[in-house]
Symmetry: C2
Subunit: 462 residues, 2 copies
């Protein structure tokens, strides 16, 4: 008798797992339940859809549903929501949104890849027309429609938009909406945008945002959204923060995401300290036969060795694929996260990996030292290029590199990978200093900025 | 009594050593003898001077001689050639080119950083006017003058130039001279250009060269250069190869470099199998107190563990600096080479590190497997970008990554550093596959091309 692998949630982790499991074991029955209409789409591309660089939402779909069904033999059911899990009986309860009925589906192995959702802060006026969070394809379609920017070349007929939250989604959306001719107000509660990227990156990004006409409201806690009429209905017309009310035509709230753990909780599955589902090296949860992967699950941090919750695309894809392999018969670890990330902020590239400041390194139990340097992206005589700002953090005791950040106009996105690779290898500052990295005048100075940072940090550790 | 550190040769390795030694030990007497006029210049920038992107040769100088003398307290003597070394007496014999005299200088520590020179193949007609090798600032000045391209925006009044040798200098000079409006013939004896970069890179670079109007003569051994008049004098007018004589107005020969080991040999210092000066982990030669670094010296290859001769700028700078530190009192290893290199070929970036094909890996004693993949440089939906071609080589027994290459229109130069870092860490294919590398739609697909290559290679190793 063939075994059944049930996957809950049809995005990066879920579809990777389903595809890999079928490839490993063609006799396996693989059923994916996705409560929405979309599967396997690139959520990271949504800001570029808003900007108009991606023409239609369909372009973001990596693999169309038919291909999963016909070529990969996956029983993919969209608009089907799993509403309960009974690990004792190895059964999930599924609600078919179109047929208004529920049914049970048994499983041998179960993957919870229910993702995360945008945090909805308890601001007064969150329910007004024109207040959005950007999470998922449908939200992007609604925002585009409201702003009148459904075609790739359309300028918005509206005037001003507020973005609440200066994380990477906020920054990317700011760039998108400036390109649509909108006045953009970016509200950030903390004193800097891009908090996980550290101060050195934030300062340069803020300068860039201002130069591109984004109105920055730092250290500014939003209190509520106002409409023209009564507080509970109608279109949003202003953002209230302190003494000020900033008039806007729309609001996009991007203050982070939280894992969709309700189903896991209902099944009695343990959550970790981060609030996401606790998993082991193979993505197994506390319930036998039940796995979790993607934005809903924890992953071990390669620097701290502790469980971490870093909801990013690569980790989700990789963990999903690994669990697919495991379920298909080849036990495969889900991998670890270094929290490596990069974001485009208008003309700047900003990147991070590992522990990026002394405070977070100390909190993780290290005795940190750090340096921030400026170094050119090309040979001093080669035209073009930019000064990169590089931060490197290390542990004094072991001299191990703990993390770093980088910001500049070129050569940042993939240069951070050198540091990320060093983190995985557990390299010391001196080992990084001695790397034989590439050099040619158009691409780097002789001493790559990463090497220069390591050299300076090594001197500081002596 | 203060000690004396004598350095022979004032470019990357020599000046790095001199500067570092003085910083470590301000009481040290540091004397640098340089037989030419230039010190501390970026030879890698010469093609860009020929192209006109670098305005003057002076722009290539990293640190002007006065600064070495005045700020760093180095006794720097240009136009002084060391003609002999007597390790028994710890004395060098120096010829002052301007005063036509010789004198002895004693040393406590000696560094031979005499560099390398362009190989001059024994072609008939090498002595004709208009036949050059490109090595050093003076050669670049002569070429520019002969071609009539001394100003940054000048088109050459000549018509056609032959470049003999399809290594990276040949490729860079081809780009430079096309930009000067010249017809460029590139002669390569082997069946591909860029031999150390492997076939997958070469094929794309050749396509690019042809698209940019470079006339490629592959598999073509040059036999001689012809002038209009008698064979021994006058201006070059043609390149003879097989049955063909290609009419040209100038020839640039770039068929490789060879280390300037004559002085070391005269001193009875051991050379290694590569023909360069043999050194240990601290850059020490077979004679006590005598070091060697830069293009004249061997360096341990991080993949094979054997001595190697890779005359590149970073290794020279790093080894020089390390020897300076050692001489100044802090024993510091010179580091290893992975042979990491990148070259711009018109619109392409081509990069390599480690052992880049199965043949060279087998020769080094491994049992190799390799893959070559195509992968996009950006998310599939993000506009722009290019397909990258990535090759990865690993050892079947240990699963260790041995090297790789990459070519494409963007994101190559610094992406190769991930592979280089993995080589230094001795990572397996699976460890590379599990790296948490950066992702954002403008810069990479979710699975970075390096990860995809590792994934495919891992499958092949099973």
């Amino acid at each position: 008798m063939s075994r059944t692998f049930v996957v809950v949630g049809g995005d990066a982790a879920g579809m990777s797992a389903a595809s890999k499991a079928r490839r490993e074991d063609p006799d396996l029955d693989v059923i994916v339940f996705e409560r929405g209409d979309w599967v396997s789409y690139g959520a990271c591309g949504l800001p570029y859809y808003l900007k108009g660089e991606v023409e239609s939402l369909e372009d973001l779909v990596a693999v169309p549903p038919e291909r999963f069904r016909e070529e990969r033999g996956i029983d993919l059911r969209t608009r089907h929501e799993v509403v309960d899990v009974d690990p004792e009986r190895s059964v999930v309860t599924v609600s078919d949104r179109d047929a208004d009925r529920q049914f049970d589906q048994s499983y041998d192995r179960l993957l919870l890849s229910t993702g995360a959702r945008a945090v909805e802060p308890p601001f007064e006026g969150m329910a007004l027309d024109g207040v959005f969070t950007l999470h998922g394809m449908d939200a992007a379609a609604e925002i585009a429609s409201y702003l009148g920017i459904e075609g790739p070349d359309e300028e918005s007929p509206l005037e001003a938009v507020a973005i609440v939250g200066g994380g990477y989604v906020g920054i990317e959306v700011a760039e998108a909406l400036r390109a649509r001719g909108l006045e953009v107000h970016l509200f950030e509660m903390l004193s800097h945008v891009l908090n996980p990227f550290g101060e050195a990156v934030a300062e340069r990004v803020e300068e860039e945002l201002r130069a591109e006409g984004v109105r920055l409201h730092l250290d500014t806690a939003v209190e509520s959204f106002r409409s023209g009429g009564d507080a509970d209905g109608g279109r949003v017309e202003g953002v209230v923060a302190g003494d000020e009310t900033v008039p806007v035509d729309a609001v996009i709230v991007g203050v982070g995401v939280e894992p969709n753990v309700e189903l896991a909780e209902r099944a009695g599955i343990d959550l970790g300290d981060t609030g996401a589902v606790a998993t082991d090296h193979y993505g197994r949860t506390s319930e036998p036969g039940v796995y979790a992967a993607g934005d809903v699950a924890e992953l071990r941090n390669v620097v701290t060795g502790r469980p971490d919750h870093v909801p990013l695309a690569l980790s989700a894809n990789r963990a999903g694929r690994a669990i697919g392999a495991t379920v298909g018969g080849t036990p495969t670890p889900v991998g670890e996260t270094a929290g490596t990330a990069v974001v485009k902020a208008f003309g700047l590239e900003a990147a991070r990996t590992g522990l990026v400041d002394e405070a977070s390194a100390r909190e993780a139990g290290f005795e940190p030292a750090s340096v921030t340097i400026q170094a050119p992206s090309r040979a001093h005589y080669y035209p073009g290029g930019d000064e990169l700002t590089v931060t490197l953090v290390a542990d004094r005791g072991t001299r191990r590199v703990l993390g770093g950040t980088m910001v500049g106009r070129e050569g940042v996105a993939k240069r951070i990978d050198t540091v990320a690779t060093a983190l995985h290898a557990g390299m010391t500052v001196e080992e990084v200093e001695y790397l034989d990295l590439s050099y040619a005048p158009p691409f780097s100075p002789v001493w790559d900025p990463v090497l220069t940072a390591a050299k300076v940090l090594s001197g500081k550790l002596e």
